[in-house]
Symmetry: C2
Subunit: 512 residues, 2 copies
Amino acid sequence: MGKLVPLRRREATGQVNVLPPSDILFWNSLFQGLDRSGAFLQLQIRQMIVTAIEDGRLPLGVRMPSSRDLAALLKVSRNTIVIAYEQLVDQNFLVSRERSGYFVAGLPKQIEQVRSNGLPAAGSDESRWTERFALRPSQFRNIIKPLDWQSYPYPFIFGQFDPSLFPTNDWRESARAALSVPEINNWARDMIDGDDPALIEQLQCQVLPRRGIRARSDEIMMTIGAQHALYLIAKLFVVADTPVGMEDPGYPDARNIFGMLTSNVVPLRIDEQGLVPDEVFERCRLAYVTASHQCPTAVSMSLERRRELLRIAKARDILLIEDDYESELIPEVSSLPPLMSLDVDQSVLYVGSLSKALAPGLRLGYVVAPAPVIRELRALRRLMLRHPPLNNQRVAALFIGLGHYRSHLQQVARVLLERAKLLDRMLPQFLPNCSWTRAAGSTNYWVSCPEGTDTTQLAEKARARGVVIEPGDVFSMHEAATRHCFRLGFSSIRTDRIEPGMECLGSVVAGR
Amino acid sequence: MGKLVPLRRREATGQVNVLPPSDILFWNSLFQGLDRSGAFLQLQIRQMIVTAIEDGRLPLGVRMPSSRDLAALLKVSRNTIVIAYEQLVDQNFLVSRERSGYFVAGLPKQIEQVRSNGLPAAGSDESRWTERFALRPSQFRNIIKPLDWQSYPYPFIFGQFDPSLFPTNDWRESARAALSVPEINNWARDMIDGDDPALIEQLQCQVLPRRGIRARSDEIMMTIGAQHALYLIAKLFVVADTPVGMEDPGYPDARNIFGMLTSNVVPLRIDEQGLVPDEVFERCRLAYVTASHQCPTAVSMSLERRRELLRIAKARDILLIEDDYESELIPEVSSLPPLMSLDVDQSVLYVGSLSKALAPGLRLGYVVAPAPVIRELRALRRLMLRHPPLNNQRVAALFIGLGHYRSHLQQVARVLLERAKLLDRMLPQFLPNCSWTRAAGSTNYWVSCPEGTDTTQLAEKARARGVVIEPGDVFSMHEAATRHCFRLGFSSIRTDRIEPGMECLGSVVAGR
């Protein structure tokens, strides 16, 4: 407590310290990124000072501006600076000397810096690396979405949520509960190949039953998002020439994962009832299926087709990987149970996601499969990365356990259904020459433009006017097949932006 | 606010509700796991009620006990129950009916449950799966540590921290800061193949310079722990017959990762200066190196050896994977700079960990490598799982940025050095017939017992008396080579437990 005394005493004299102009320049540059409208101003200031000390911009012994001067310079309250300085004194980044102010404190001796100029510039020796790579994953074709989609007025993209849908308070309650000392002790440990038992239990009790799935705890494993589940399953079952069936058009990430492991990825036909279990399908060992809403066409597989698929899978010993990627996002009346819930022959490995509806950045997916499969998947995951971060597993367990997940899904469903109804009206109005599909429960439309349209060019034109859509070519194994199609997602666009966005898109499609 | 009225009015009559005995049995069973000593009683109670409603143990319409009765039954304050009930009313799990209490509310119609008996029991059809697997990762030999090591009085295990070392308050400050609305919006997004730029910047400014490493932002990528970095690098560079050099004895997870990709894992010799760059080494394309403290022998590679290794690597075009797994945990005077900081020829790919010193459960590692390599690693990681959870990346960025990481490392180093000094005294006293190595900066000793000792049996005997050590055979490609050795870690054991633990271990080793 005594630490504050010299500061108060010194500044109580009313002495006016005006920083000289060169100092103002320096300190202004140091605090350049300060976001005055942002929260946690004091934290931001501390971070900037610590970083400047650590990287040498603020060397040992430099005198910091008085709290008054810095407050004036940064246009923040003086108390903010006082608190920041005192915290930095506690951490030994600054020292306070009576009557003379705060100074940058000494650092522990650093290891001599041998390489002072960093690595040679990128691309300097590109070919040398190219020869060494065993594979070139960067060469795969994939969906490209602008990372800054939030800065476009009309983002019709799939799989991302407009920030207003995030359950801020409920998530905070769960995250804070996970910061108690006993909880930290639970998640701080390395679990080797395990998961948080509390999260597995919540999946068993709350999440899976709503999809008609019952599973024991040794039949569930957590993954870093659903995609990681696909990768692990593929790795476990696919060798160099395994015939793997892939819906076509289909999910490019799944196609790329299989394509990395086998040269025998087989395109499977899609009709208005979903995947067609024809003789091509019958020759596969594994097949990737999105039964609930096919990715990207958003058609739902009929119940008869589901049963037929399972029957043939059993007869031909084909393993079905069911990616129930949107699971329960919009529980519309006509939604059907997933393949897994109909399967009595262990033909299905089920992949789901917890973070899709919440925040894709959290990366929480899971697999449901027979225990011998989960055992090998755990050993493989252990080798690859051990387990998904346990603190997030615990927060998710609390979030579900406290009933927030159910409330959140209801809230999301309400908003998404409203958007779908709006789009059902807008599409005929603004895209009169196009056709589209969307099954109950899907968060996207699959739009077909007149033959000959190049939707990559169309998407570029639309983007220049603030509308983001996803061109269709990348979803097909032969790009031309779906070059005239695009995916129109609506979880990412605010409801009130849909009408002006569709109007704008309509005029781009019409060539106006 | 009015919601509380009926409850108060009803219970203000002084009416004493005593639950009938069968009810007491039921409600007791429902709240069986309640931890009255734990934090967040109210949250625990809410979770238990929600879970029971969701899994059907509390069906629609059931009347809940009065808050007074339940409080008495659970021995918690009545207010705790009142708050829990009201929150559950807000979430529509319960309804409150005036004068009659709280009732379980209806649920949205669930998908018909087709499979009611779960999957067939594990092992029922084991052989059918065995035939299908493309690989059997569960068959790999690996380190086995008891997951419940915290329940042993003397856990001398490596890579886990006793809970007292976790920086609870500083972590909380950072985690809470990451829960502001703008921060959530930052981390909620799917970044596809990106990382949190704030964390990359903190690595550049604060973490890497202390290891003498400078890197541009396109030369760094985050991973799910250091192990994930090894997996990605191996996947990028190793094909079926690539000769990969592996320190022997060495880190079993690295050996298993390489062994999954190539049949040509070559054992490399270790002497008192670390890895020996002999003609076997010269024939490798890649080599795994733990220069700072060799895993598990804890010898430090001499500066001359480091330079020699780099010279030969350059001449023979051998890629060195430097696993700087303990990096700056204990900055002892004689610590040497990592290979990466000495390398001017791009021979080294550097792997580090942020979570090792903090909480292994967080799983935050990173790679530093030339930009063309990072580009392919990002594409591969995108395919595998996109990116490590962004919320944890942001918390870590704040934790480092606020100077807490530096303070934490200093605190950890102080404690660990004290333990090492203690063990330097204890080892000759309690293990007079053994020899050991430990280089500056290492958190483990590598102990050699007299030839003929089987440390797997020894470890079992020790464990029965509360001492956990790690037997040495698993670290060698030929188990017998290090069967008489064991690893003695000291980050996991409280300082005051070291002496009694060593005394106990000493008597086990002496066969008493």
